[in-house]
């Protein structure tokens, strides 16, 4: 009896010790997310997507034989707790962190630049970080807000028959750094294209937009570019209806998701356009793979209904390029993967589209954004339908703004 027990305990002990030895050292990525405050509308789906992506990669043998692992900690959108999270992640040996929060990514920037850890910031944080020569460790995957605004204007131009002379474009935005960001580039575009630009701010938290909309009713703009998230989208739709402004005039940010559409009402949302950084919906090959390989084998990390949701896809889009960068790094520079190798790996990514999820990304030492290509998608009452091809318009203007801003950063951080 005792002998048997001893044996069993021995085996258990050996298997406990041996388990980590069998598998190769996992590559760790840190997620410092806001799961309880203002980003809680998106963060859970992002985590689900990222863990699903990791499960998919691990089920296929990992990245060049190395399993991947996500470490998650909540920071409640507070810079102080974000810094604490980052320090923990750093101590745990992550090669890259993601914050999904502009305040936190801004707070981490000085540390990341000093410590040399890759920070991804898809759709949050400073736009000028696409300048890889200055922001060596930051990868704002996808287009910047400046690029998105420029692409929206380009779409308006193509819709107006190639000229915007005499057209009225209204910029409706939340009066907060996030909403104010595109103003500079829109003013530059106004000079170049000769359209009338009207600025219509509304105050935080965005539930009251009535004065902006009644002003727009008087101005009767041809296009409305709207910079807002979550509830602001819903309020904007209601105001548009109340003021008799057609939804098809509105071009909004990529932050609008299925929940917002449901709150607006699919019928009312018909005709609404958005700038898309990655494909929506679950028809994308990568998502089909996740459906069969991960959820089909009961290894999913959440409710299957979220597959294809805007934020779910954003989660995939945030880390698919990082995994590709890690793969290239391991292939070219060998194990173990360090943050420096990962950065070089990501800079060598060419034409990577994550199985049809994104525009073909081309990174380089100079461009950490991957080319800034977006497309315009329209909601047809059921799904988002692409209206244009992936393209980056007014690249010169966008980069001019990027360089001006990053030069300012460089001046104080010699």
């Amino acid at each position: 009896m005792f002998q048997r027990l001893k044996k069993a305990l021995g085996i258990a002990a050996i298997s406990l010790v041996a388990q980590p030895l069998l598998a190769a050292e996992p590559i760790k990525f840190g997620l410092c997310y806001d799961l309880t405050k203002i980003y809680s509308f998106a963060a859970p789906q992002l985590v689900q997507a990222e863990r699903d992506l990791a499960a998919l990669v691990n089920s296929q043998g990992g990245i060049e034989g190395h399993p991947v692992e996500f470490l998650l900690q909540e920071h409640g959108n507070e810079p102080q707790r974000g810094i604490e999270c980052y320090e923990r992640m750093k101590a745990a040996g992550v090669v890259a962190v993601d914050t999904l929060s502009s305040p936190v990514s801004r707070a981490l920037l000085p540390r990341v630049m000093k410590d040399g850890i890759v920070m991804t910031q898809p759709m949050v944080g400073r736009s000028d970080t696409v300048d890889g020569e200055v922001f060596k460790w930051v990868f704002p995957i996808g287009a910047t807000y400046w690029g998105m605004a420029a692409n929206a204007v380009q779409y308006a131009k193509s819709q107006s028959g190639g000229s915007l002379k005499g057209k009225r474009i209204a910029f409706l935005y939340i009066d907060y750094p996030f909403g104010q960001e595109p103003i500079g580039i829109l003013k530059e575009l106004q000079k170049r294209e000769g359209f009338d630009l009207g600025l219509y701010p509304y105050p935080l938290p965005g539930n009251d937009q009535s004065s902006a909309w009644s002003q727009m009713r008087r101005a009767q703009p041809d296009y409305i570019i709207h910079w807002g998230t979550a509830v602001m989208q819903v309020v904007a739709a209601k105001e548009a209806q109340r003021n008799g402004i057609s939804m098809s005039k509105i071009i909004t940010t990529p932050w609008i998701n299925d929940v917002d559409i449901a709150n607006i009402g699919p019928d009312l949302a018909k005709g609404l356009k958005k700038v898309a950084v990655f494909a929506s919906g679950s028809y994308v090959p990568l998502l089909r793979k996740i459906k069969t390989e991960v959820y089909g084998k009961d290894k999913g990390n959440g409710d299957i209904k979220w597959l294809g949701d805007k934020y779910y896809n954003l989660g995939l889009a945030s880390f698919a390029p990082v995994f590709e960068g890690a793969r290239l790094a391991l292939k070219n520079y060998g194990a173990p993967l360090t943050a420096d190798k990962l950065r070089k790996g990501m800079e060598s990514i060419r034409d990577f589209n994550a199985d049809g999820l994104m525009a073909p990304l081309v990174f380089s030492e100079k461009d950490h954004g991957g080319g800034g290509k977006t497309r315009i998608e329209m909601y047809d009452g059921k799904a988002w339908v692409p209206q244009t091809d992936w393209a980056a318009a007014y690249d010169d203007l966008v980069w001019q703004a990027v360089k001006a801003s990053s030069a300012e950063y460089l001046k104080t951080n010699k």
């Binding site: 900690q73 400073r126 104080t412």
Partner: protein, 357 residues
């Protein structure tokens, strides 16, 4: 037992008035100070950088706020704005090549000037009305920072703090940042401990208890309220600057929003009004506990292999934290400092508790 008072005989006024008359407490303070000085050697960098450092800076700030709420009895809902004024002044000054020592003083001075100018108008009202008008300070400063790109630093609304030297020593390593904060916190603590022994402190307490009565005994309540606002603004301004230069590394508007003002207020109230040690405890409670609880809950869930959704897991610490706040305020409305005092009094008389009146 520990706090033995036998054998302490006051043979001069100096001895009677010293800060810590009980030998055991002198030892306590000495050991704590020695530990604080040795902390960079004793603690792992994570705890030094993301727990000790913000704790010290925020304690200095909370002491400044405690001066105005706990000592002078005036509500202040815009303390984060005062800190923001200091932070932005120091950052702009340092970016224009002003030495850090002068930039710090400048931060305090700007905060004092703006804080006092505002106080002159705000002090015409009292109680809840004063609370609301100080809240207005918060919103005015927030608005100005957002609306004036020259202050906020343009579209990105982020100003990087340049690398600086303090008294010839570069403030770059973790230890140098920590010591900067430690020195500031010790200075403010010394000031606050001494305040209760000065005429200023007694005048403030008189104003707090009843400003009419204070006026009757010859204390100009408006003048002392103004002094309280000015002093606490100075402390807040310098603390804001130190927070940016040693902890954040960049100044953004989100670091000093209304939320932060309310948090600062909570630090003082939960810690204990008018208590120095209360400010230390209150800051630890409000600033550090949420992170620690979250880490503990997460570790527990991983250890027990609980299959809990990440959203629920993220909200449990918030729930616990809320319960803790309510519990503390239910059982000890006078704050954490009162719990400490009770404990100290108990030990002071132990084992002869019956001799306590």
């Amino acid at each position: 037992m520990f706090y033995l008072q036998s054998g302490i005989s006051h043979s001069s006024y100096g001895v009677e008035r010293q800060l810590f008359p009980i030998p055991f407490e002198r030892w306590q303070v000495g050991i704590l100070l020695a530990l604080a000085i040795a902390a960079p050697l004793l603690m792992s960098p994570i705890y030094l950088k993301s727990y000790m450092l913000p704790w010290l800076i925020w304690t200095a700030a909370a002491l400044g706020l405690n001066l105005i709420i706990g000592w002078a009895g005036q509500f202040h809902f815009g303390y984060a704005a005062v800190m923001a004024i200091g932070a932005y002044s120091a950052t702009h000054a340092a970016r224009h090549g002003v030495p850090f020592e002068i930039a710090l003083v400048l931060a305090g001075a700007t905060a004092t000037v703006i804080g006092s100018v505002f106080a002159i108008t705000a002090l015409r009202v009292r109680g809840l009305y004063l609370a609301l008008s100080t809240l207005a300070l918060q919103f005015v400063i927030d608005w100005v920072i957002h609306k004036v790109p020259a202050i906020s630093g343009g579209t990105q609304a982020t100003l990087q703090a340049p690398s600086v030297h303090l008294l010839g020593i570069p403030i770059a390593s973790d230890a140098s940042k920590y010591y900067t904060a430690l020195v500031w916190c010790v200075l403010v603590t010394m000031f606050m401990l001494n305040l209760r022994r000065t005429g200023l402190g007694r005048a403030l307490v008189a104003v707090r208890e009843k400003d009419f009565a204070a006026a009757v005994i010859g204390v100009n309540s408006f003048y002392y309220k103004l002094v309280a606002f000015a002093t606490s603004s100075f402390i807040g301004g310098v603390s804001g600057a130190i927070l940016v230069f040693t902890f954040y590394g960049a100044v953004t508007p989100e670091q000093f929003t209304t939320n932060v003002s309310i948090q600062a207020l909570a630090m003082v109230i939960i810690g204990g009004l008018g208590s120095v040690i209360g400010s230390y405890l209150g800051v630890a409670f409000i600033l550090l506990l949420p992170g620690l609880i979250a880490t503990a809950i997460y570790a527990l869930a991983t250890k027990l292999d609980l299959n809990v959704g990440i959203e629920l897991l993220a909200h449990i610490p918030g729930l616990l934290y809320g319960i803790l706040i309510i519990a503390f305020l239910l059982f000890e409305p006078s704050g954490l400092a009162k719990i400490y005092t009770n404990f100290r009094n108990y030990l002071m008389f132990w084992p002869f508790g019956y001799s306590r009146k």
